[in-house]
């Protein structure tokens, strides 16, 4: 891989991030709903809405508002929440780790389910294991995440009393508490993510297992284990890494619902509240951070290909 490639990718990442923040800002201004009215609630009348909008700088033309925001953002100032008056940057900093931890653990759980299930199903197509994992992944894909979350709460929290229903303790404060709180939401996300990934892993493996070189490897007398580990898996890795990259993106959006159900103080929930309250600076800030995060993740995945497959070269 060469420097030129990385620079090209970084520039296009920047364009994507700008485009996303612009589009979000445009859309949120176009939909009905006004932050001044949200703050004033039912007390809003034309006079005090106008006065509040003036005070909050909402009467400026759209491009001026966006430009001001962008200028400040490039200097590290993401502004203050319209609703609570609190600075956006500290709020994001404080809530980002919770989302990252949840997404990371969910991804690991998903992989822990998908990799074994997918690989074994591919090795033994049509067997009972294959059928169970197929049905399982169908069900997993169909289940709504909030339903699964609430069901798990009812079972493990209410009925069995093993785990808390909601909340967050940071790892540094109390690792055991952290685990107890993160388990249910991570499993909720992980099960569904795992269900989706199982199918892809399975088909990626199946494709590879049908290749000529696998037959050659068998013909050479290699053990089943060696064939899988040294020949089949490495070749399937490209597809699998792609899937993981896509799943990370999917997880960072699915995390919103789970955060709401479990009262998880993460970025997803913050973004949702910002949308519902029409809190423009807060929304822009969270979207910016998410967009940067995701473009970096995708870049990382693409760079991972070089590691996974030495044949790849980018022009």
């Amino acid at each position: 891989m060469n420097l030129q490639y990385i620079i090209q990718r970084l520039i296009s990442a920047l364009v994507v991030v700008l485009g996303v923040t612009f589009a979000v800002f445009l859309i949120i201004q176009l939909v009905p709903g006004d932050p001044a009215r949200v703050i004033l609630g039912v007390q809003a009348n034309d006079e005090n809405v106008a006065a509040l909008r003036e005070r909050l700088g909402l009467n400026e033309p759209f491009l001026v508002q966006y430009g001001t925001w962008l200028g400040n953002a490039l200097r590290g100032d993401l502004g203050k929440s319209l609703i609570t008056g609190q600075e956006v940057t500290p709020q994001i900093k404080q809530r980002l780790p919770a989302t990252l931890e949840l997404a990371a653990l969910a991804l690991l759980i998903g992989l822990a389910i998908a990799l074994p299930a997918g690989i074994i199903s591919a090795l033994k197509p049509g067997s009972l294991i294959d059928v169970i994992s197929s049905v399982g992944s169908q069900v997993g894909v169909a289940i709504p995440d909030f339903w699964l979350g609430i069901m798990l709460i009812l079972l493990f929290s209410l009925t069995l009393g093993w785990l808390p229903a909601r909340g967050y303790t940071s790892f540094s404060e109390n690792p055991r508490d952290w685990l107890e709180h993160i388990i249910l939401p991570a499993v909720t996300l992980g099960i569904i993510s795992g269900a989706i990934q199982t199918r892809f892993v399975r088909s990626a493996m199946l494709e590879v297992l049908n290749e000529n070189y696998i037959r050659t490897a068998h013909a050479k007398g290699l053990s089943e284990r060696k064939v899988i580990v040294s020949h089949a898996l490495p070749n399937a890795m490209i597809t699998i890494v792609t899937i993981i990259g896509l799943q990370i993106t999917a997880l960072l959006s699915a995390v919103v619902v789970v955060e709401v159900v479990f009262g998880w103080p993460g970025l997803g929930r913050l973004a949702l509240e910002a949308v519902l309250d029409r809190d423009y600076p807060l929304l822009q800030g969270t979207v910016l951070v998410m967009a940067v995060l995701l473009t970096m993740v995708n870049l990382g995945v693409d760079l991972l290909y070089f590691v996974v497959d030495p044949r790849i070269e980018y022009a």
């Binding site: 709903g33 009348n45 008056g85 049509g126 229903a165 909601r166 479990f262 103080p265 519902l276």
Partner: protein, 578 residues
């Protein structure tokens, strides 16, 4: 057979079994139903009889007490005499030796707070926090009697234009400074300043109200027209709270108000967590008991209740009415209720046809079955009402012209020129689930008189946009925190007033409610508002449905909490028996 086939057959058999059992379960329920119904019906007369026996005794007792209570209220309203005696009384209860000091109360609200600037916000969650942090000159106690708070006494001038308040000395703000008349002036002036955009500025008065500092502990408020109920309006909500000017940030906003209340805001994490800390210098001796109150919003009903049942939180603000019974039956939870002095209602857009025709509105009011709406909307935990004021309020006029009469409703519609009914749209909001449920039932009831209603249920900010701009036929919502007659009639229905969302404008009504707030005598005001009530109910810009029960649930070791009909949640009387 391969594994696949076996599994497939198993699934099919399972589905068939479920279908069969489902049928059986249904059958069993249907069979049981008549027996249960019969049992209930049998019990009903006995219960009714018992209630009837007790009722006259209760009535007599209330009637005996009434004149004394009335007189007391009048005395206090006239010139605010009652002094620290009142504060002493409530203190005595606390000092009975039972209450324990210390501890943290974990509280779960339903919705996040939309800001904490008392002059600007109006969300219920915000107010609940502010009632514990910021204090007003006067307050309503747990029995909804007007009491002194930061003001010890007050009197009205001869011409009725000026109210003079004597302030309590030695009250400390959370930043260590003493509260003086200057602070009252600053707070009130910011509230009524049009640039602040405060909806509740009317608690103090119009923008040209004069606020004068007479000395450190005396402040005079002069209105352009006489306002007889200033002591009451100052007690309504935290908008008229006294805050220190150091609360202001550089850009003129307030994100953490510095007040004089029993708790101060110690930590705020966005809108997900707030910690209130005990105010060590609180002016009411002996209060508060708690060291800390930790507040978190949990929007989902199930999760919130699970958190209570699992001991993660000690106190919960809103209970889903459908879960009321199961919580009441749970010996590990205390469930407390009080009838709200508020209402769920249908607000009609008088600027649109055919709703500008009073006959149409009356037809709707006659066609609805309020009992069924109450069952559907709030699972029966409500009282049906035909006017704004429910039973239990001293302002209950009991004027009820709208007992259900579908035939008469149809007649009125025909008279109005709509013999075949018409199409309309109902606008509840997902922010309040009960309004959506009520809308669904309403749709059916309206169909009976030929009105074909569709339902549009947007989320809160979109709903606010539509409702605020008269872009609706009829919306469904609720009011709460209403205590004085003025709050039921003036702000919502007087021409041009700040909460007049329907476009109602009746000069005779305006005259009445203007007069009602210019005087202080309860009997005089009662007569005025009785007429106003009749006018308003007849004109029906709001069609009243029911008055909900206020429900709180908390752990058994939480003591001293009082459920109030005005939905205020005061945490300074709470202590933990642990």
């Amino acid at each position: 057979m391969t594994g696949k086939r076996i599994l497939f057959l198993f699934v099919v058999v399972l589905m068939l079994a479920l279908a069969a059992c489902g049928g059986q379960v249904q059958q069993a329920v249907e069979e049981a139903a008549p027996t249960v119904e019969a049992a209930v019906q049998e019990a009903a007369p006995t219960v009714e009889a018992a209630v009837e026996e007790v009722a006259p005794t209760v009535e007599a007792a209330v009637e005996e007490a009434a004149p004394t209570v009335e007189a007391a209220v009048e005395d206090m309203a006239d010139d605010g005499a009652a002094e620290e005696e009142m504060a002493d009384e409530s203190m005595a209860e606390g000092e009975m030796g039972e209450a324990k000091y210390g501890g943290t109360l974990n509280v779960a609200f339903q919705n996040e707070w939309a800001g904490l600037d008392p002059h600007v916000v109006s969300s219920y969650s915000s107010y609940q926090i502010l009632f514990n942090v910021v204090e007003r000159l006067t307050q309503y106690d747990d029995d909804l009697n007007l009491q002194p708070m930061l003001a010890e006494s007050w009197e009205q001038s001869e011409d009725g234009l000026t109210w003079t308040f004597k302030l309590r000395e030695g009250v400390m703000f959370h930043n260590g400074r003493e509260m003086t008349a200057e602070d009252v002036k600053w707070s009130f002036e910011r509230l009524i300043d049009p640039a602040t955009g405060a909806g509740n500025a009317g608690n103090v008065g119009p923008a040209d109200t004069k606020i004068e500092v007479i000395d450190d502990y005396t402040v005079a408020i002069t209105h352009p027209e006489p306002v007889g109920i200033l002591p009451q309006t100052l007690a309504f909500n935290p908008a008229s709270g006294i805050i220190a000017k150091e609360s202001l940030e550089d850009d003129g906003t307030i994100s953490i108000p510095i007040g004089t209340g029993p708790f101060k805001i110690a930590e705020v994490e966005g809108t997900t967590r707030m910690v209130l800390e005990k105010n060590e210098d609180y002016w009411q001796e002996g209060y508060p008991y708690l060291d800390e109150v930790v507040i978190e919003p949990i929007p989902d009903d199930t999760v919130r209740e699970t958190a209570l049942l699992g001991g993660e939180v000690d106190w919960v603000l809103a209970i889903a009415p459908q879960n009321y019974q199961s919580l009441v039956d749970n010996p590990d939870i205390v469930v407390d209720t009080a009838p709200q002095l508020s209402y769920d209602y249908i607000g009609v857009n008088l600027t649109r046809e055919p709703f500008d025709n009073v006959l149409v509105r009356q037809a709707i009011a006659l066609a609805i079955d309020r009992q069924v709406l109450c069952e559907a909307g709030f699972f029966g935990l409500c009282e049906t009402i035909q006017g704004p004021v429910g039973s239990g309020s001293p302002w209950d006029f009991n004027y009820e012209p709208y007992d259900r009469d579908v035939e008469r409703a149809k007649e009125l519609l025909t008279e109005a020129g709509y013999p075949d009914g018409f199409d309309m749209e109902l606008l509840p909001t997902t922010q309040y689930g009960e309004t959506v449920r009520a809308a669904q039932v309403l749709q059916q009831q309206l169909a009976e008189i030929g009105i074909n209603a569709t339902i549009n249920a947007p989320e809160w900010s979109e709903w606010l946009e539509l409702e605020g701009n008269f872009m609706y036929d009829a919306y469904i919502c609720n009011w709460n925190g209403l205590i004085d007659a003025d709050q039921y009639y003036y702000l919502q229905h007087r021409t041009g007033q700040v909460f007049n969302f329907t476009g109602y404008s009746n000069p005779d009504f305006d005259e009445l409610v203007d007069a009602g707030r210019a005087i202080s005598d309860f009997d005089e005001r009662y007569q005025i508002y009785e007429q106003a009530d009749k006018m308003l109910v007849d004109d029906a810009p709001y069609i009243y449905m029911y008055n909900k029960e206020e429900i709180r649930a908390y752990a058994p070791y939480v003591k001293g909490f009082v459920v109030r009909p005005d939905q205020q949640n005061n945490f300074w009387t709470v202590w933990l028996d642990q």
